[in-house]
Symmetry: C2
């Protein structure tokens, strides 16, 4: 193998798994019975790793092992195994504040770049639920909590500078995975790049137009600058609907291997942007027009609730759980100072809102014109219908990135999404 792998690393095969797990007493106890009884299957449909599920008489686990290359592209795109370390660090940090919204970790093996964690069952990937039109009544509530708690607690409002700097030093090394985001999300859709693809020929003219759209390109680079330089909090870094496992009652965010100290809006935007992708994809999944009207509405309600609850909870934490070195509530104890504090909070949340919209727009664009697409759109077999859905999504994405500051609130964004959905989806000139 030509990759830079630590001594002792080897990619486990299905046959290796029982013996490996049997060597970890807590995991063996969870599975129950004898190793020979455990059923092992490889289930990875992601881009980066091997995922094995092991089920025994009393329980199941997931074993996730990093490969030294990007699975989606192949051995030509090497990727550091150390991402397993960053994922583990992020999961542990998130579990401190929202253990109910991340998978429980049972074991981490640095040499094998391998994590053993809870097998989430009967959870499915949120994206697949959104494609099927399943309503998740607690999704907004849970994800608002996940984001408010994880992002606040690692921000300069939620932890002292010394603690933040120590952890930031560690995550500064997550260079290669950040680099993937930098290229694929913020740059490639706006230039000719290997791997870019789109629904062709329907979106050919659109792809050209996007590459020469100065204001849109400027916005993409401004958000990239924020991504590179704004160390606001330990972000998940890849919080789309494929990184969220759901049931009607439970919601857990998985796969934080892209985690680093970056802009809060990147996480919020990833979720909101992917929900808008789901929204615009619905007309591609309707047997007859209007079939998914109710579901479309539910998605918009969910988006509104995600932002509204996130905003409320982040502010509440600021007041109740402040542990940072700036904006200490005690500094603003008197009456007129409280007004200044409130207006500072207002301005802070407003910036997060505009950031979230813009980052959301970046994530939407790259899923239509870049390397990695989403099943919401890809599963629409008819390319004309798919292109119509994608064209509408791109219209909103541009508005979110270029004119984000023009939206007064999340309802206004939803109004624009509805208006875009009603428009005929001609390819833009």
């Amino acid at each position: 193998m030509a990759f830079d792998v630590p001594p002792g690393y080897r990619a486990l095969k299905e046959a290796d798994i029982p013996a490996y797990l049997a060597g970890i007493p807590t995991v063996a106890a969870r599975l129950g019975g004898r190793a020979a009884e455990w059923k092992i299957r490889e289930v990875g449909d992601g881009n980066l790793n091997f995922i094995f599920v092991a089920e025994g008489p009393t329980g199941g686990i997931v074993l996730k092992q990093a490969l030294p290359y990007l699975r989606l592209v192949g051995e030509s795109w090497p990727l550091p195994l150390r991402r397993a370390f960053f994922e583990h660090q992020a999961l542990v940090t998130q579990a401190r504040v929202v253990p109910q919204h991340v998978p429980e970790v049972f074991h981490f093996d640095d040499t094998l770049a391998l994590t053993v964690m809870a097998y989430l069952s009967p959870h499915i990937i949120l994206r697949k639920g959104l494609i099927r039109g399943i309503v998740y009544p607690r999704l907004a509530d849970h994800m608002a909590t996940f984001m408010a708690e994880t992002l606040f607690s690692t921000s300069d409002l939620g932890q002292p500078a010394a603690a933040k700097k120590k952890q930031m030093a560690v995550f500064c090394d997550n260079i290669e995975l950040c680099r993937i985001t930098e290229d694929l999300v913020f740059t490639d859709p706006w230039r000719v790049a290997d791997g870019n693809r789109w629904t062709s020929p329907q979106l050919d003219a659109t792809a050209v137009a996007v590459r020469t759209d100065g204001p849109w390109k400027r916005a993409a680079q401004e958000f990239k600058l924020k991504f590179l330089g704004e160390a606001q909090a330990l972000i998940h870094g890849d919080l789309h609907s494929g990184s969220i496992m759901v049931t009607a009652d439970e919601t857990r965010a998985i796969d934080p291997e892209f985690a680093f100290y970056g802009p809060i809006g990147f996480d919020v935007g990833a979720l909101i942007g992917n929900l808008y992708l789901a929204y615009f994809s619905q007309s591609g999944h309707e047997a007859t027009p209007g079939d998914r009207d109710g579901y479309r509405n539910w998605i918009l309600q969910t988006i509104e609730a995600v932002w509204t609850l996130f905003d409320q909870r982040f502010r509440a934490l600021w007041t109740k759980a402040h542990a940072g070195d700036t904006f200490m509530p005690a500094l603003f104890a008197a009456g007129p100072e409280q007004a200044a504090f409130t207006s500072a909070q207002e301005a802070y949340m407003r910036r997060l809102f505009v950031d979230s919209l813009g980052f959301g727009g970046c994530k939407m664009t790259r899923r239509i014109l870049g390397l990695a697409h989403v099943e919401d759109m890809e599963s629409i077999a008819d390319p004309d219908r798919r292109a119509a859905c994608e064209t509408r999504a791109l219209r909103l994405a541009r508005a979110l990135m270029v004119d984000g500051a023009g939206f007064t609130d999340i309802k206004a964004v939803n109004d624009t999404a509805r208006a875009v959905q009603r428009e005929p989806a001609k390819v833009p000139a």
Copy 2:
């Protein structure tokens, strides 16, 4: 000693210096002659270190050794020796782009937290020159170059993300020195804090008013948030007029031990804010009113030139020396895209301008109401005159912090400074 010092560390005494220097061939050669001939003297007037000058028959050097506590306060305030390492790292990084504006380093000793560097002679500390009323015709030119080159080259416009993240991981450890800035510059002047002092009783009411001024306090915390979270570039971190050595022809920035990846405006603001302190202090140094009118004008011209030249050179570097992962000029090659690029530059420089004013205001305020004051003001013997100068400086400082976005350009700031200077300096109600 109760401090956390590495094995082998010892504070050198004057008598130890010749033997130590004789052991470094390049330094011994520079001094010339025999060690017994070298004249050693301790010259430190700073807050943090011992500084020895050694002169031999053919040249001189400075030996700077860190102490494990803050010299200004005493052993009750421990400070990590590792700041010598950060200073050395910063000097080496700055020397890559502006060797003519930093002291040349001959030797670094990690164990002793000790750097041997060029003895700058006949340079004096800029602050002392400003107090004496000496004109430095090349100061603005040189400092604009120092800041544009060092800040651009370490920004996300001037270097790839991977290089930045690697160096940022190192500087994330400079926790304690950053903490001093966080407390002394952004928080203590706006609260009751040990060590705060001011010209009393003249400014007693002012100090109380500042501590209950909601919008001013809000601005201070917003700039602190930027200081904590905006990793724009490797900043000097303490770029006031006491950290700049000058002659009529030469300008060198010294003492970057507070260096870390922070907001660019903090460096620019440190310089501009300290020049405004010098400006408002002049009426305290006049033998007869009006004596320093010409010099006051020169200071304002210098401030205008510092910003104007910095702005020009930073933009020029962006176009000519771009090496970062965002805003690559090739992305904006076509005509209409160039307009988008130019307007992005405009917005970026505008943010730097408003940041610089605000950080400058923070630095001015802390020098009048906080722990560490400046000789510009302290050397005014008559407390009534001093308080009048300080009151005017505080008025501008508040405007820079609270209303910075209201200034169209640096000339407008100078106009306000002139207007403040003309006002009678009553203590604000």
